[in-house]
């Protein structure tokens, strides 16, 4: 089943055309990595998919449910109440975590499931504890984010997103604010989630990680997808010159 379908998305900021014509679909259990140079539109694509930005043209569907349709080359979104429901479908992990600094770890994780999704408090808290255990930070329950390392903060942010029980999880350069040691902590968590068949779309610069973990790699440049396919094909034997040049610089 297709969890996410984006077709012919276009997005322009002022005069800058960031996304030119991109279509992407993600199936259940699939791990997709999006690679590409800075300014290629990776983050904007993720922000459009998570409704932080509205797209100018194109369609967006989650699990077959329409979020926006293309009417005469313009994206038309469904009603606010429908969008509110669809927001339960996905989660997003940010580059700089964006934890709520005035909430403890447990409150960061539990507040939205309890007060937005209106789930049972005890059940949510038990689930949060088990998530923190899986993340290896069950001893940090009552800490404030400022008392944690960057890697720990990002693991809390991942737990916060997972506590909403999303069907698909987006990561916007989840390790870019971290040093190599902390980066490996987070990649370990992502590998673990992949092994649990969590559907994930990950924007990353970690090429080795993308090759080892993802089912599919998408390479973006200048608002287009220039190459996509199995990681061993795209990363080890790229057809496109631009992809080859980018990957060579990383090696």
């Amino acid at each position: 089943m297709k969890l996410l379908e984006i077709n012919n998305i276009k997005k322009t900021f002022d005069d800058l055309e960031v996304l030119k014509d991109i279509s992407i679909s993600v199936s259940e259990g699939e791990v997709v990595s999006i690679l590409g140079p800075s300014g290629s539109g990776k983050s904007t694509l993720l922000r459009c998919a998570t409704l932080l930005e509205t797209m100018d043209a194109g369609t967006l569907k989650y699990g077959g449910e329409t979020v926006c349709e293309d009417v005469d080359g313009k994206s038309v979104y469904v009603s606010k109440s429908k969008i509110k429901k669809i927001k339960n479908y996905f989660g997003l992990v940010f580059q700089n975590f964006n934890l709520f600094p005035h909430y403890t770890v447990i409150k960061n994780i539990c507040d939205a499931p309890i007060h937005i999704q209106k789930r049972d408090k005890k059940e949510v808290e038990a689930e949060a504890m088990s998530l923190l255990e899986q993340m290896g930070i069950s001893d940090k329950v009552d800490y404030y984010p400022c008392q944690l390392s960057g890697g720990q903060q990002q693991r809390v942010a991942i737990a916060r997103a997972l506590a909403m029980n999303p069907k698909i999880l987006f990561f916007d350069e989840p390790t870019s604010a971290l040093d190599p040691e902390l980066t490996s902590e987070i990649l370990k968590v992502l590998r673990y989630l992949a092994s649990k068949k969590m559907t994930m779309v990950i924007v990353t610069h970690e090429i080795d990680f993308a090759r080892n973990v993802s089912d599919r790699v998408i390479f973006m440049d200048d608002g287009y997808i220039v190459e996509q396919g199995k990681p061993e094909d795209v990363i080890d034997n790229p057809e496109n010159d631009r992809v080859r040049a980018f990957l060579n610089k990383l090696k």
Binding site: N98, D142, P145
Partner: protein, 266 residues
Amino acid sequence: MRAPARAFLSKGVNMKKKPIIAIAVFVALLIPATLSACGFSGDSEGGVISWLFYTISQLSSGIWLSLALFAFTLIFSMPLGLLVCFLRRSRFKVVELLAKFYISVMRGTPLMLQLLVVYFGPYYVFKIPLSTEYNFYAAIIGFSLNYAAYFAEIYRSGIEAVPKGQYEASDVLGYSRSQTFMKIVFPQMVRHIIPPVTNEIITLVKDTSLAFAIAFVEMFTMAKQLAAADSNIMPLFVAGLFYYLFNLIVSFVMGLLEKKMNYYQK
């Protein structure tokens, strides 16, 4: 499990005794003011204590009026400021411009003039006769309208200091706009604005003396009258002592609040 968090919280809650002395002196000075309300007064000819007792009992009704004006102005201007701040941040350009205009007038003209407008306005515009009680209400209205403008801008600075990422995180988690404000933005804003709000409150304590412009006889006006009647400047210094001690208490309380809000870092 909670121990480290608590150790972090208790950091820096080491209070000095000075403000407690200020509170004690302030309360002690209020005793004559309270006693005079029961018909008890000191002597202008006796010793220092007796004289102080006399001066304070003469000022007593003004002291209470100043405190009342201060308290009511805070109670009304702080929420009103939040409303003005919302209007100032409105998506509708017209509303935003109106709020900007309001703030510019309130900040750009003398408070004394604004008090006169509030006081005489009803008479000149609607021919409503001036009553003697109205000057108290006019003072509260004038001060509240003026301070709301300042508070609005302080709140705005506090709101804008909250990083954009906080809004994005709440949006993705499904918080509505009002939930985001109440749960995520407001608590962080409060922490940002405590120092400038303390400034405003201290200014307000001293500004209450401007109410004399509309014949509102508060403490400082009384002290001036007493000084004139007795040909003695000392009553003015007694009034000054009251302002100073009260402001010591204000900064002490706000300092406590600031420490209480320090339970997290950005």
